[in-house]
Protein backbone atom coordinates (compact mmCIF):
# COMPACT_ATOMS: atom_id res chain seq x y z
CA UNK A 1 0.00 0.00 0.00
CA UNK A 2 1.32 3.40 -1.02
CA UNK A 3 1.64 5.79 1.92
CA UNK A 4 1.18 9.55 1.59
CA UNK A 5 4.60 10.87 2.52
CA UNK A 6 3.79 14.53 3.10
CA UNK A 7 0.56 15.29 4.93
CA UNK A 8 -2.32 13.24 6.27
CA UNK A 9 -4.85 14.40 8.85
CA UNK A 10 -4.76 10.99 10.50
CA UNK A 11 -1.03 11.14 11.26
CA UNK A 12 -1.30 14.74 12.50
CA UNK A 13 -4.13 13.67 14.83
CA UNK A 14 -2.05 10.72 16.05
CA UNK A 15 0.89 13.03 16.76
CA UNK A 16 -1.31 15.44 18.71
CA UNK A 17 -2.82 12.54 20.65
CA UNK A 18 0.66 11.19 21.39
CA UNK A 19 1.82 14.53 22.80
CA UNK A 20 -1.29 14.89 24.94
CA UNK A 21 -0.75 11.37 26.35
CA UNK A 22 2.93 12.02 26.98
CA UNK A 23 2.31 15.40 28.65
CA UNK A 24 -0.84 14.47 30.58
CA UNK A 25 0.80 15.19 33.95
CA UNK A 26 1.99 18.62 32.80
CA UNK A 27 -1.47 19.38 31.38
CA UNK A 28 -3.08 18.38 34.68
CA UNK A 29 -0.65 20.54 36.71
CA UNK A 30 -1.10 23.59 34.48
CA UNK A 31 -4.90 23.22 34.51
CA UNK A 32 -5.02 23.03 38.30
CA UNK A 33 -2.63 26.00 38.62
CA UNK A 34 -4.68 28.14 36.24
CA UNK A 35 -7.91 27.19 38.02
CA UNK A 36 -6.43 28.19 41.38
CA UNK A 37 -5.08 31.45 39.94
CA UNK A 38 -8.49 32.36 38.51
CA UNK A 39 -10.26 31.50 41.75
CA UNK A 40 -7.89 33.50 43.98
CA UNK A 41 -7.60 36.53 41.69
CA UNK A 42 -11.33 36.64 41.03
CA UNK A 43 -12.13 36.65 44.77
CA UNK A 44 -9.56 39.41 45.34
CA UNK A 45 -10.91 41.40 42.42
CA UNK A 46 -14.53 40.97 43.59
CA UNK A 47 -13.70 42.47 46.98
CA UNK A 48 -12.27 45.64 45.38
CA UNK A 49 -15.24 45.99 42.95
CA UNK A 50 -13.37 48.36 40.66
CA UNK A 51 -12.76 46.30 37.54
CA UNK A 52 -15.82 44.58 36.07
CA UNK A 53 -13.77 43.43 33.03
CA UNK A 54 -11.14 41.85 35.23
CA UNK A 55 -11.60 38.42 33.63
CA UNK A 56 -10.92 39.69 30.10
CA UNK A 57 -7.62 41.24 31.21
CA UNK A 58 -6.59 38.23 33.28
CA UNK A 59 -7.52 35.81 30.49
CA UNK A 60 -5.33 37.79 28.06
CA UNK A 61 -2.48 37.83 30.57
CA UNK A 62 -2.60 34.02 31.05
CA UNK A 63 -3.10 33.40 27.33
CA UNK A 64 0.04 35.32 26.41
CA UNK A 65 2.40 34.54 29.29
CA UNK A 66 1.76 30.83 29.72
CA UNK A 67 1.04 30.36 26.00
CA UNK A 68 4.35 31.85 24.95
CA UNK A 69 6.20 29.91 27.65
CA UNK A 70 4.59 26.65 26.41
CA UNK A 71 5.29 27.56 22.78
CA UNK A 72 8.96 28.20 23.54
CA UNK A 73 9.29 24.64 24.83
CA UNK A 74 7.10 23.01 22.20
CA UNK A 75 10.04 21.44 20.29
CA UNK A 76 11.84 20.23 23.41
CA UNK A 77 11.54 16.59 22.30
CA UNK A 78 13.36 17.50 19.07
CA UNK A 79 16.21 19.21 20.92
CA UNK A 80 16.47 16.84 23.90
CA UNK A 81 19.41 14.45 23.59
CA UNK A 82 17.42 11.84 25.50
CA UNK A 83 14.16 12.17 23.60
CA UNK A 84 15.08 13.20 20.06
CA UNK A 85 15.52 9.61 18.88
CA UNK A 86 11.75 9.09 19.05
CA UNK A 87 11.11 12.48 17.43
CA UNK A 88 13.15 11.53 14.37
CA UNK A 89 12.11 7.88 14.13
CA UNK A 90 8.35 8.33 14.44
CA UNK A 91 6.86 7.55 11.02
CA UNK A 92 5.43 10.98 10.20
CA UNK A 93 6.74 13.72 7.93
CA UNK A 94 8.58 16.78 9.24
CA UNK A 95 5.63 18.85 8.02
CA UNK A 96 3.17 16.77 10.05
CA UNK A 97 5.37 16.99 13.12
CA UNK A 98 5.53 20.79 12.75
CA UNK A 99 1.78 21.09 12.21
CA UNK A 100 1.04 18.92 15.25
CA UNK A 101 3.16 21.23 17.42
CA UNK A 102 1.40 24.24 15.91
CA UNK A 103 -2.00 22.75 16.70
CA UNK A 104 -0.98 22.10 20.29
CA UNK A 105 0.43 25.57 20.97
CA UNK A 106 -1.74 27.79 18.75
CA UNK A 107 -5.09 26.00 18.64
CA UNK A 108 -5.54 23.58 21.54
CA UNK A 109 -3.92 25.90 24.12
CA UNK A 110 -6.07 29.02 23.48
CA UNK A 111 -9.28 27.07 22.97
CA UNK A 112 -8.60 24.83 25.96
CA UNK A 113 -7.86 27.89 28.09
CA UNK A 114 -10.97 29.67 26.82
CA UNK A 115 -13.20 26.74 27.74
CA UNK A 116 -11.55 26.30 31.15
CA UNK A 117 -11.60 30.04 31.86
CA UNK A 118 -15.24 30.44 30.80
CA UNK A 119 -16.37 27.65 33.11
CA UNK A 120 -14.26 28.88 36.05
CA UNK A 121 -15.27 32.53 35.57
CA UNK A 122 -18.96 31.55 35.58
CA UNK A 123 -18.39 29.44 38.68
CA UNK A 124 -16.45 32.12 40.57
CA UNK A 125 -19.03 34.69 39.42
CA UNK A 126 -21.89 32.81 41.07
CA UNK A 127 -19.83 32.16 44.21
CA UNK A 128 -18.82 35.85 44.44
CA UNK A 129 -22.39 36.99 43.90
CA UNK A 130 -23.53 34.74 46.74
CA UNK A 131 -20.77 35.82 49.12
CA UNK A 132 -20.08 39.46 48.18
CA UNK A 133 -23.24 40.33 46.23
CA UNK A 134 -20.99 41.36 43.34
CA UNK A 135 -19.19 39.58 40.53
CA UNK A 136 -17.00 40.50 37.57
CA UNK A 137 -18.27 39.97 34.04
CA UNK A 138 -17.56 36.35 33.09
CA UNK A 139 -15.63 35.41 29.97
CA UNK A 140 -17.95 34.64 27.08
CA UNK A 141 -16.50 32.29 24.46
CA UNK A 142 -18.55 33.99 21.75
CA UNK A 143 -17.26 37.48 22.59
CA UNK A 144 -15.67 39.26 19.60
CA UNK A 145 -13.03 40.90 21.81
CA UNK A 146 -11.84 37.54 23.13
CA UNK A 147 -11.38 36.16 19.63
CA UNK A 148 -9.44 39.28 18.57
CA UNK A 149 -7.12 38.64 21.51
CA UNK A 150 -6.75 34.98 20.52
CA UNK A 151 -6.05 36.03 16.92
CA UNK A 152 -3.32 38.40 18.08
CA UNK A 153 -1.89 35.68 20.28
CA UNK A 154 -1.64 33.32 17.30
CA UNK A 155 0.19 36.00 15.28
CA UNK A 156 2.68 36.86 18.03
CA UNK A 157 3.06 33.21 19.00
CA UNK A 158 4.46 32.49 15.53
CA UNK A 159 7.68 34.33 16.48
CA UNK A 160 8.19 32.17 19.56
CA UNK A 161 7.18 29.06 17.61
CA UNK A 162 10.11 29.73 15.30
CA UNK A 163 12.36 30.48 18.29
CA UNK A 164 11.38 27.12 19.80
CA UNK A 165 12.61 25.30 16.68
CA UNK A 166 15.65 27.53 16.15
CA UNK A 167 17.22 27.52 19.62
CA UNK A 168 18.20 24.35 21.43
CA UNK A 169 18.10 25.88 24.93
CA UNK A 170 16.65 28.96 26.68
CA UNK A 171 14.34 29.52 23.71
CA UNK A 172 12.11 32.10 25.46
CA UNK A 173 14.99 34.31 26.62
CA UNK A 174 16.88 34.02 23.32
CA UNK A 175 13.81 34.80 21.25
CA UNK A 176 12.88 37.70 23.54
CA UNK A 177 16.36 39.19 23.15
CA UNK A 178 16.26 38.58 19.36
CA UNK A 179 12.94 40.45 19.05
CA UNK A 180 14.29 43.30 21.17
CA UNK A 181 17.47 43.59 19.11
CA UNK A 182 15.52 43.40 15.86
CA UNK A 183 13.16 46.15 17.02
CA UNK A 184 16.14 48.29 18.02
CA UNK A 185 17.74 47.69 14.63
CA UNK A 186 14.51 48.68 12.86
CA UNK A 187 14.33 51.84 14.95
CA UNK A 188 17.93 52.75 14.09
CA UNK A 189 17.29 52.12 10.37
CA UNK A 190 14.11 54.20 10.53
CA UNK A 191 16.05 57.00 12.19
CA UNK A 192 18.77 56.84 9.53
CA UNK A 193 16.19 56.90 6.73
CA UNK A 194 14.31 59.73 8.34
CA UNK A 195 17.53 61.63 8.86
CA UNK A 196 18.45 61.16 5.25
CA UNK A 197 14.99 62.35 4.15
CA UNK A 198 15.24 65.59 6.12
CA UNK A 199 18.98 65.77 5.58
CA UNK A 200 18.61 68.61 3.07
CA UNK A 201 17.43 70.87 5.87
CA UNK A 202 19.73 69.97 8.74
CA UNK A 203 19.43 73.40 10.27
CA UNK A 204 15.68 73.03 10.61
CA UNK A 205 15.41 69.58 12.15
CA UNK A 206 16.64 67.80 15.28
CA UNK A 207 15.72 64.68 17.23
CA UNK A 208 13.89 66.84 19.73
CA UNK A 209 11.88 68.35 16.91
CA UNK A 210 11.20 64.86 15.54
CA UNK A 211 9.81 63.84 18.92
CA UNK A 212 7.62 66.94 19.04
CA UNK A 213 6.49 66.30 15.49
CA UNK A 214 5.64 62.74 16.41
CA UNK A 215 3.32 63.97 19.13
CA UNK A 216 1.52 66.68 17.22
CA UNK A 217 2.75 66.73 13.68
CA UNK A 218 -0.49 67.71 12.07
CA UNK A 219 -0.79 71.27 13.28
CA UNK A 220 1.73 72.69 15.64
CA UNK A 221 5.07 72.00 14.04
CA UNK A 222 6.43 74.20 11.38
CA UNK A 223 9.46 73.02 9.48
CA UNK A 224 10.70 73.40 6.00
CA UNK A 225 10.01 69.85 4.79
CA UNK A 226 6.66 68.88 3.35
CA UNK A 227 4.74 67.51 6.36
CA UNK A 228 1.83 66.49 4.19
CA UNK A 229 4.04 64.18 2.16
CA UNK A 230 5.63 62.79 5.28
CA UNK A 231 2.24 62.09 6.74
CA UNK A 232 1.33 60.22 3.60
CA UNK A 233 4.57 58.22 3.72
CA UNK A 234 4.00 57.37 7.36
CA UNK A 235 0.47 56.29 6.58
CA UNK A 236 1.77 53.97 3.87
CA UNK A 237 4.39 52.57 6.25
CA UNK A 238 1.74 52.06 8.92
CA UNK A 239 -0.52 50.24 6.46
CA UNK A 240 2.37 48.11 5.20
CA UNK A 241 3.31 47.17 8.76
CA UNK A 242 -0.30 46.32 9.53
CA UNK A 243 -0.56 44.12 6.44
CA UNK A 244 2.76 42.49 7.34
CA UNK A 245 1.57 41.86 10.91
CA UNK A 246 -1.87 40.58 9.99
CA UNK A 247 -1.17 38.53 6.88
CA UNK A 248 2.54 37.92 6.36
CA UNK A 249 4.44 37.70 9.64
CA UNK A 250 2.87 34.51 11.00
CA UNK A 251 2.97 32.51 7.70
CA UNK A 252 6.61 33.55 7.19
CA UNK A 253 7.58 32.31 10.64
CA UNK A 254 5.53 29.11 10.26
CA UNK A 255 7.37 28.36 7.02
CA UNK A 256 10.73 29.20 8.61
CA UNK A 257 9.87 26.86 11.49
CA UNK A 258 9.06 24.01 9.11
CA UNK A 259 12.29 24.57 7.17
CA UNK A 260 14.26 24.53 10.43
CA UNK A 261 12.57 21.30 11.55
CA UNK A 262 13.22 19.71 8.15
CA UNK A 263 16.95 20.34 8.23
CA UNK A 264 17.40 19.56 11.92
CA UNK A 265 19.69 16.67 12.86
CA UNK A 266 20.37 14.69 16.03
CA UNK A 267 23.50 16.29 17.36
CA UNK A 268 24.57 14.10 20.24
CA UNK A 269 27.11 12.25 18.12
CA UNK A 270 28.89 9.05 19.01
Amino acid sequence: MKINNYLTGKRVALLVRKDIYMEKKFIAIISVTITLLIFISSFLSATSRNNPNFHTSFFTFILYTIGIAITSKIFSDMHSLKKNHFWYMLPASDLEKTISKFILSAVIWPIGLLILYSVISLLTGSINRTIFGYSNNPILPISYGIWIRIGNYILIQSLFFYGAALFKRHQLIKMGISILLFTLLLFIIAMIIFRSVVGENPGHFSFHQFYQWGNSYSHSFNMSIDTENLRRVLEIIKRALKIFYLFLMAPIFWILTYLKVRKNEASNGV
Binding site: M1, K2, I3, N4, N5, R11, L14, R17, K18, Y21, M22, K25, S80, K82, K83, N84, H85, F86, Y88, M89, L90, P91, A92, S93, D94, E96, K263, E265, A266, G269, V270
Partner: protein, 285 residues
Protein backbone atom coordinates in the same frame (compact mmCIF):
# COMPACT_ATOMS: atom_id res chain seq x y z
CA UNK B 1 17.88 -2.42 0.36
CA UNK B 2 20.32 0.01 2.04
CA UNK B 3 22.99 1.52 -0.17
CA UNK B 4 25.64 3.93 1.05
CA UNK B 5 27.44 5.74 -1.75
CA UNK B 6 30.68 7.72 -1.39
CA UNK B 7 29.62 9.02 1.98
CA UNK B 8 31.58 11.66 3.87
CA UNK B 9 30.70 12.62 7.41
CA UNK B 10 32.35 14.50 10.25
CA UNK B 11 31.23 16.15 13.46
CA UNK B 12 34.11 18.61 13.72
CA UNK B 13 37.71 18.31 12.57
CA UNK B 14 38.70 15.04 10.91
CA UNK B 15 36.42 13.01 8.68
CA UNK B 16 34.73 10.16 10.51
CA UNK B 17 33.55 8.58 7.25
CA UNK B 18 35.70 9.18 4.25
CA UNK B 19 34.24 7.90 0.97
CA UNK B 20 32.29 5.14 2.70
CA UNK B 21 30.53 2.60 0.50
CA UNK B 22 28.33 -0.20 1.75
CA UNK B 23 25.43 -2.32 0.57
CA UNK B 24 23.17 -4.10 3.01
CA UNK B 25 20.62 -6.69 1.87
CA UNK B 26 17.56 -8.39 3.33
CA UNK B 27 17.48 -11.89 4.74
CA UNK B 28 20.43 -11.36 7.05
CA UNK B 29 21.27 -10.49 10.64
CA UNK B 30 24.27 -8.22 10.19
CA UNK B 31 26.68 -7.80 13.07
CA UNK B 32 28.18 -4.32 13.14
CA UNK B 33 31.33 -4.43 15.21
CA UNK B 34 33.91 -1.82 16.05
CA UNK B 35 35.82 -0.14 18.84
CA UNK B 36 34.36 2.77 20.81
CA UNK B 37 34.13 5.85 18.60
CA UNK B 38 34.58 3.83 15.40
CA UNK B 39 31.37 5.27 14.00
CA UNK B 40 28.83 2.46 14.53
CA UNK B 41 26.11 4.59 16.14
CA UNK B 42 26.80 7.43 13.70
CA UNK B 43 26.36 5.02 10.79
CA UNK B 44 23.02 3.84 12.20
CA UNK B 45 21.92 7.46 12.65
CA UNK B 46 22.86 8.29 9.07
CA UNK B 47 20.92 5.26 7.82
CA UNK B 48 17.84 6.40 9.75
CA UNK B 49 18.09 10.06 8.66
CA UNK B 50 18.91 11.37 12.13
CA UNK B 51 22.23 12.67 10.81
CA UNK B 52 22.93 13.98 7.32
CA UNK B 53 26.09 13.10 5.38
CA UNK B 54 28.29 16.05 4.38
CA UNK B 55 28.70 14.48 0.93
CA UNK B 56 27.43 11.32 -0.74
CA UNK B 57 24.21 9.66 0.30
CA UNK B 58 22.51 6.80 2.05
CA UNK B 59 19.54 5.32 0.25
CA UNK B 60 16.86 3.00 1.55
CA UNK B 61 14.75 1.46 -1.21
CA UNK B 62 16.42 4.05 -3.49
CA UNK B 63 15.15 6.95 -1.37
CA UNK B 64 17.57 9.30 0.34
CA UNK B 65 17.40 8.74 4.11
CA UNK B 66 17.69 12.52 4.66
CA UNK B 67 14.08 12.91 3.46
CA UNK B 68 12.78 10.99 6.51
CA UNK B 69 9.67 9.97 4.61
CA UNK B 70 6.90 8.30 6.65
CA UNK B 71 6.80 5.43 4.16
CA UNK B 72 10.46 4.65 4.89
CA UNK B 73 10.31 5.42 8.62
CA UNK B 74 7.37 3.05 9.02
CA UNK B 75 9.60 0.27 7.67
CA UNK B 76 12.45 0.98 10.12
CA UNK B 77 12.66 0.21 13.80
CA UNK B 78 15.79 1.51 15.51
CA UNK B 79 16.55 0.61 19.12
CA UNK B 80 19.07 3.15 20.45
CA UNK B 81 21.57 2.44 23.20
CA UNK B 82 20.37 5.37 25.32
CA UNK B 83 16.72 6.30 25.42
CA UNK B 84 14.04 7.96 27.46
CA UNK B 85 10.65 6.34 27.90
CA UNK B 86 7.50 8.27 28.83
CA UNK B 87 5.39 7.72 31.92
CA UNK B 88 3.05 5.28 30.16
CA UNK B 89 2.29 1.61 30.64
CA UNK B 90 3.39 -0.79 27.85
CA UNK B 91 -0.27 -1.13 26.77
CA UNK B 92 -0.80 2.65 26.63
CA UNK B 93 2.54 3.08 24.83
CA UNK B 94 1.49 0.59 22.18
CA UNK B 95 -1.88 2.34 21.80
CA UNK B 96 -0.14 5.66 21.22
CA UNK B 97 2.75 4.53 19.02
CA UNK B 98 1.59 1.40 17.20
CA UNK B 99 -0.84 3.22 14.81
CA UNK B 100 2.24 4.71 13.13
CA UNK B 101 3.36 1.20 12.12
CA UNK B 102 0.93 -0.35 9.62
CA UNK B 103 2.12 -3.93 10.23
CA UNK B 104 2.08 -3.78 14.02
CA UNK B 105 0.73 -6.95 15.60
CA UNK B 106 -0.90 -6.67 19.04
CA UNK B 107 -0.81 -10.46 19.42
CA UNK B 108 2.94 -10.54 18.79
CA UNK B 109 3.39 -7.67 21.23
CA UNK B 110 1.53 -9.45 24.02
CA UNK B 111 3.49 -12.64 23.35
CA UNK B 112 6.87 -10.85 23.36
CA UNK B 113 5.99 -8.99 26.56
CA UNK B 114 5.06 -12.25 28.17
CA UNK B 115 8.25 -13.97 26.91
CA UNK B 116 10.36 -11.17 28.37
CA UNK B 117 8.29 -11.18 31.59
CA UNK B 118 7.32 -7.51 31.26
CA UNK B 119 4.27 -6.39 33.23
CA UNK B 120 1.88 -4.73 30.80
CA UNK B 121 0.28 -2.55 33.48
CA UNK B 122 3.47 -1.15 35.04
CA UNK B 123 4.68 2.34 34.17
CA UNK B 124 7.65 2.31 31.82
CA UNK B 125 9.36 5.15 33.66
CA UNK B 126 9.50 3.04 36.84
CA UNK B 127 11.14 0.06 35.11
CA UNK B 128 14.85 -0.79 35.25
CA UNK B 129 17.10 -0.08 32.25
CA UNK B 130 17.08 -3.77 31.29
CA UNK B 131 13.28 -4.01 31.51
CA UNK B 132 12.89 -0.87 29.42
CA UNK B 133 15.22 -2.32 26.81
CA UNK B 134 13.31 -5.60 26.72
CA UNK B 135 10.10 -3.63 26.29
CA UNK B 136 11.56 -1.71 23.34
CA UNK B 137 12.85 -4.95 21.78
CA UNK B 138 9.38 -6.50 22.19
CA UNK B 139 7.72 -3.43 20.67
CA UNK B 140 10.23 -3.31 17.80
CA UNK B 141 9.72 -6.97 16.96
CA UNK B 142 5.94 -6.43 16.97
CA UNK B 143 6.12 -3.56 14.46
CA UNK B 144 7.09 -6.14 11.81
CA UNK B 145 9.33 -3.52 10.23
CA UNK B 146 11.46 -4.64 7.32
CA UNK B 147 14.57 -3.00 8.75
CA UNK B 148 15.43 -3.52 12.40
CA UNK B 149 18.49 -1.72 13.73
CA UNK B 150 19.62 -2.55 17.24
CA UNK B 151 22.35 -0.59 19.01
CA UNK B 152 23.85 -2.61 21.88
CA UNK B 153 20.59 -4.57 22.41
CA UNK B 154 21.98 -6.93 25.07
CA UNK B 155 23.51 -4.23 27.30
CA UNK B 156 21.71 -4.39 30.62
CA UNK B 157 19.92 -7.66 29.85
CA UNK B 158 20.17 -10.52 32.35
CA UNK B 159 21.23 -14.00 31.17
CA UNK B 160 17.71 -15.45 30.60
CA UNK B 161 16.74 -12.28 28.74
CA UNK B 162 19.80 -12.58 26.48
CA UNK B 163 18.73 -16.11 25.62
CA UNK B 164 15.19 -14.87 24.99
CA UNK B 165 16.58 -12.05 22.83
CA UNK B 166 18.53 -14.50 20.66
CA UNK B 167 15.47 -16.70 20.33
CA UNK B 168 13.31 -13.74 19.35
CA UNK B 169 15.75 -12.39 16.76
CA UNK B 170 16.20 -15.83 15.21
CA UNK B 171 12.42 -16.20 14.96
CA UNK B 172 11.76 -12.87 13.22
CA UNK B 173 14.45 -12.94 10.55
CA UNK B 174 13.18 -13.79 7.08
CA UNK B 175 13.99 -13.09 3.44
CA UNK B 176 12.11 -9.78 3.45
CA UNK B 177 13.68 -8.45 6.63
CA UNK B 178 17.05 -6.97 7.47
CA UNK B 179 18.35 -6.94 11.02
CA UNK B 180 21.52 -5.11 11.97
CA UNK B 181 22.98 -5.43 15.45
CA UNK B 182 25.69 -3.06 16.59
CA UNK B 183 27.43 -4.47 19.64
CA UNK B 184 30.49 -4.92 21.79
CA UNK B 185 28.95 -7.98 23.44
CA UNK B 186 30.07 -10.34 20.68
CA UNK B 187 29.73 -13.46 22.85
CA UNK B 188 25.98 -12.77 23.04
CA UNK B 189 25.78 -12.71 19.27
CA UNK B 190 27.68 -15.86 18.32
CA UNK B 191 25.67 -18.19 16.07
CA UNK B 192 23.30 -15.27 15.49
CA UNK B 193 25.02 -12.62 13.38
CA UNK B 194 25.99 -13.32 9.81
CA UNK B 195 27.47 -11.47 7.87
CA UNK B 196 29.90 -9.50 9.98
CA UNK B 197 30.78 -5.89 9.32
CA UNK B 198 33.79 -4.49 11.16
CA UNK B 199 34.20 -0.76 11.18
CA UNK B 200 37.39 0.98 12.23
CA UNK B 201 38.28 4.67 12.07
CA UNK B 202 35.20 5.30 9.96
CA UNK B 203 36.07 2.63 7.40
CA UNK B 204 34.54 -0.77 6.73
CA UNK B 205 37.48 -3.12 7.15
CA UNK B 206 35.51 -6.37 6.87
CA UNK B 207 32.11 -7.15 5.39
CA UNK B 208 31.87 -10.90 4.89
CA UNK B 209 29.53 -13.77 5.61
CA UNK B 210 30.63 -16.46 8.07
CA UNK B 211 30.78 -18.88 5.14
CA UNK B 212 33.12 -16.58 3.24
CA UNK B 213 35.29 -16.05 6.31
CA UNK B 214 35.62 -19.75 7.06
CA UNK B 215 36.43 -20.44 3.43
CA UNK B 216 39.56 -18.33 3.88
CA UNK B 217 40.58 -18.56 7.53
CA UNK B 218 40.20 -21.03 10.38
CA UNK B 219 40.55 -20.93 14.14
CA UNK B 220 41.82 -23.57 16.51
CA UNK B 221 42.45 -23.70 20.22
CA UNK B 222 45.95 -25.01 20.86
CA UNK B 223 47.15 -25.97 24.35
CA UNK B 224 50.58 -24.49 23.52
CA UNK B 225 52.05 -21.66 21.48
CA UNK B 226 52.75 -22.69 17.89
CA UNK B 227 54.59 -20.98 15.05
CA UNK B 228 53.76 -21.64 11.43
CA UNK B 229 53.93 -19.54 8.24
CA UNK B 230 50.16 -19.64 7.68
CA UNK B 231 49.31 -18.34 11.16
CA UNK B 232 48.01 -14.80 10.84
CA UNK B 233 47.06 -14.20 14.45
CA UNK B 234 47.33 -15.83 17.85
CA UNK B 235 46.10 -14.83 21.25
CA UNK B 236 46.51 -16.29 24.72
CA UNK B 237 43.14 -17.45 26.00
CA UNK B 238 42.09 -19.54 29.00
CA UNK B 239 43.21 -23.12 28.24
CA UNK B 240 45.89 -22.23 25.69
CA UNK B 241 46.18 -20.20 22.52
CA UNK B 242 43.60 -19.22 19.94
CA UNK B 243 45.37 -19.63 16.61
CA UNK B 244 44.04 -18.14 13.37
CA UNK B 245 45.27 -19.77 10.16
CA UNK B 246 45.03 -18.55 6.62
CA UNK B 247 43.27 -21.69 5.42
CA UNK B 248 39.67 -22.91 5.26
CA UNK B 249 38.05 -24.32 8.37
CA UNK B 250 34.68 -25.43 9.74
CA UNK B 251 31.98 -22.75 9.85
CA UNK B 252 30.99 -23.47 13.44
CA UNK B 253 34.44 -22.72 14.73
CA UNK B 254 34.32 -18.95 14.39
CA UNK B 255 34.97 -17.02 17.57
CA UNK B 256 33.83 -13.49 16.74
CA UNK B 257 35.99 -11.88 19.41
CA UNK B 258 39.12 -13.56 18.04
CA UNK B 259 38.04 -12.69 14.51
CA UNK B 260 37.60 -9.04 15.53
CA UNK B 261 41.06 -8.92 17.11
CA UNK B 262 42.56 -10.69 14.08
CA UNK B 263 41.06 -8.16 11.69
CA UNK B 264 42.16 -5.16 13.74
CA UNK B 265 45.68 -6.53 14.18
CA UNK B 266 46.15 -7.53 10.51
CA UNK B 267 44.22 -5.06 8.41
CA UNK B 268 46.52 -5.31 5.38
CA UNK B 269 46.84 -9.09 5.58
CA UNK B 270 43.10 -9.58 5.83
CA UNK B 271 42.64 -7.15 2.97
CA UNK B 272 44.80 -9.33 0.75
CA UNK B 273 43.09 -12.55 1.95
CA UNK B 274 39.68 -11.19 1.00
CA UNK B 275 41.07 -9.52 -2.14
CA UNK B 276 39.92 -6.13 -0.88
CA UNK B 277 36.39 -7.03 -1.94
CA UNK B 278 34.86 -6.18 1.39
CA UNK B 279 37.13 -3.30 2.21
CA UNK B 280 36.44 0.34 2.08
CA UNK B 281 38.97 2.20 0.01
CA UNK B 282 38.88 5.74 1.31
CA UNK B 283 40.05 8.55 -0.92
CA UNK B 284 41.79 11.13 1.22
CA UNK B 285 40.03 14.44 1.36
Amino acid sequence: MITINNLYFKYTGNWLFNNLRLEIKTGNIYGLLGKNGAGKTTLLKIITGQLFPKEGNCKIYDIDSRKRLPDILSKIYFLPEDFHLPDLTPIKYSKVFSPFYPNFSSEDFKKHLSDFEIESGKSLSSMSYGQKKKFLIAFGASTNCEIILLDEPTNGLDIPSKTQFRRLISSIVNNERLIMISTHQVRDMEQLIDPIIIIDNGKIILNESIESITSKISMVLSPEDISAPDIIYKEKVPGGYAIVYEKPGPTLNIDIEILFNTVLANKEKLKSIFNGSSYEIGAKK
